[in-house]
Symmetry: C2
DNA sequence: TTGACTGCAAATGCTTTGCACCATT
DNA sequence: AATGGTGCAAAGCATTTGCAGTCAA
């Protein structure tokens, strides 16, 4: 959890979005998620707070949050639907190929190296995706 | 181009696949692709060699090749269909956010670091996805 | 008030599948 | 001959959209 629901809400308002019950529900779900929920997951959880929410609105809201850069849209090669999390650009993921569990890690050296590679190729690094897929070592 | 069409064909035969005209067409397309074609692209190009090929077969063939690990299925966040290339695990991609062009790069240090990170987390690294998204530096 | 937002259901569009026919081995 | 492969068209399914009603500002 990198941002509170309140902070998220403020960013949305700044961006000119109206704060409605369904949107608040989605923001809360994201703010409290410890995992990487799919759209369906977000929908299910948001319904607990606003039972009348529709999945179309969840799609629309997540789309807006993605545009605003508040959220990161993952497409792990594992599961085949998109999965979301609050945008905290400084970590990456290791996906357990047997269980599908998603672990997070960060590594400053890799951050620097990414920057450098992009620069060497004449590019400014804007976005990045780094996912490791592996199997638990036994021992 | 990391494998010739012949080499690919042999690997498919080894794996027990029958070699048919449509499959050969798909293999040729992949062997000669310098880019990262979508299913649609592969279909269009394969039709030049085997006009009667159907897109269902292209999907099926690419799926098989993916299972065999002969091909890598990309899902760049840019375009929203899958895009394929022959599996050469040692390079990664930088996607130009303005043009959508895909550049390739390799970097041994990052390879090592990935390994190490996975190991430190108690995992054997099986697969990895590293994509940089950026904008051309002007000057 | 009014333009943004919503739920609903229908439409999209990529991908998969059932089926009957066909070709490789 | 047998089995796996194919084209076709229909089905699936996650996501998007048109629309008419609703609500935040």
């Amino acid at each position: 959890m990198t941002m509170t629901a309140k902070e998220l809400e403020n960013k949305c308002i700044e961006a000119g979005l109206k704060m409605t019950a369904p949107r608040r529900a989605v923001l809360n779900v994201l703010a409290h998620a410890e995992d990487h929920p799919s759209v369906e997951d977000v929908y299910d959880r948001a319904k607990k707070e606003d039972p009348s929410i529709s999945i179309a609105t969840v799609y629309r809201t997540l789309g807006l949050l993605d545009e605003l850069g508040l959220v990161y849209r993952h497409e792990f090669t594992d599961s085949d639907h998109a999965r979301y999390e609050l945008n905290d650009t400084h970590h990456h993921h290791l996906i357990d190929l047997d269980t599908g569990k998603v672990l997070e890690f960060e590594n400053p050296q890799i951050e620097k190296m990414k920057q450098k590679i992009a620069e060497d190729m004449g590019y400014e690094l804007v976005e990045c995706r780094l996912e490791l897929y592996g199997r638990k070592l036994k021992k």
